[in-house]
Symmetry: C2
Subunit: 239 residues, 2 copies
């Protein structure tokens, strides 16, 4: 499995639920987290329930590192960020967060190793724990009910970090520039046969715009090319 | 509760797990989803287990709309997008997706109502179901294990839609421009007293850069201003 920089360490403080621990192991596999540190978990992190919810991420359960303090869990990383759904008032600087989007776009890419700290399902992180991290991250959500379940908060932060690390690579082979031109020529030929002279220019431009404004995959473009070829043949026979 | 445009409908096809249904109700409350349609769920969507995992999102369970077909669940929305972890080869156009980021940035803002369709935990959506939607959305993840648990896939899509709808509003009151200037003046005064003439310009510039490169909250800025004022007084007394 490839290593993707920066190294990501998930730190879970006082986790209370086996389902969440299992789901987080799975997410760690989905988004290639390097390390999971558990600070004094309240459940057995190696139970069969945890493994069941980890699904194909069960190998990450084997890599759980259980420690006794947050200090220990933060050793050896360049940057640490804790997470909280609670945002402080003006004077409560400890609870002034950056959004997770801002964190991954502006801050995280400058570091080689990052720890993200998540608190207890019931009460989150204490003020003392919050003060041990360099930064505070917040996931924007409905102000009337911003508190996500633990593993869902983890999923969003890990997803954002994944997008940051993997970039915006095309997932599927994109259409090559020349196929747009070929589809366009066929469609214009057809249009020229069946559209009145006074409307032809608008249709011509509209065909160009829909083709060049919308990025197609190679497969989509070749299916459209096939369609246009068939169409031209039939129109050619009729006229 | 405020309405945020576009209207978002979550459509769950053949959901198999009560925990996931409960978590999704909670997420719908966290991210202000308007409607949840369940197409032939395999579990009782109104069970106590579902309600337990919904937490403060239990009111969304009351709003579950159970229907018998995907066609029914897609009625009345302008745009429908299904989701899949599987990406097709070149010729399999049905499985050529857009990423969720591309979807929310480029496509979704143009519509007033959007349905997002999520498939079964075990096997996702059938090809027939995929073909009923306008678009296919993909969440980028580890290619060796891209399959997220259902409710975690939902969390990421709803989070992206929330960011799109709520914009990048500051969560905490940002520092006003003049406080940077006031902090800078104090720090420069101190620097001018204690730094050699030949190094002063570099320190001066560095002070400007750290103050203006890093957006501060009003609370952070006022704490730094307080610190700088104290410092100037003490330095003034000593020299």
């Amino acid at each position: 499995m490839q290593k993707v920089r920066p190294i990501i360490r998930v730190v879970l403080v006082g986790t209370e639920g086996e389902i969440n621990l299992g789901f987080i192991a799975r997410l760690a596999a989905n988004f290639l987290v390097d390390e999971i540190y558990l600070v004094s978990p309240l459940v057995d992190p190696f139970s069969s329930e945890v493994r069941r919810f980890a699904a194909h991420g069960e190998y990450m359960v084997e890599h759980f590192k259980v420690v006794n303090s947050l200090d220990e869990a933060l050793q050896g990383v360049e940057l640490s960020a804790c997470t909280s759904a609670r945002v402080g008032q003006r004077s409560d600087v400890l609870r002034h967060p950056v959004t997770v989007r801002e964190f991954v776009e502006r801050i995280a890419p400058r570091y080689n190793s990052i720890a993200i700290v998540f608190g207890r399902e019931s009460v989150g992180l204490t003020r003392e724990e919050l003060s041990k991290c360099h930064l505070l991250i917040h996931i924007p959500a409905n102000p009337d009910y911003p508190v996500l379940n633990l593993s869902h908060a983890v999923s969003i932060v890990l997803y954002e970090l994944w997008v940051m690390r993997s970039g915006s690579r095309s997932i599927v082979e994109p259409a090559k520039p020349d196929i747009y031109e070929r589809i366009y020529k066929l469609l214009f030929e057809i249009a020229a046969k069946i559209i009145d002279r006074e409307r032809l220019q608008a249709v011509d431009i509209a065909l160009k715009r829909i083709l060049w404004k919308c990025p197609l995959t190679a497969g989509e473009a070749s299916a459209l090319y096939y369609f246009a070829k068939k169409l031209r043949r039939i129109i050619g026979e009729q006229r």
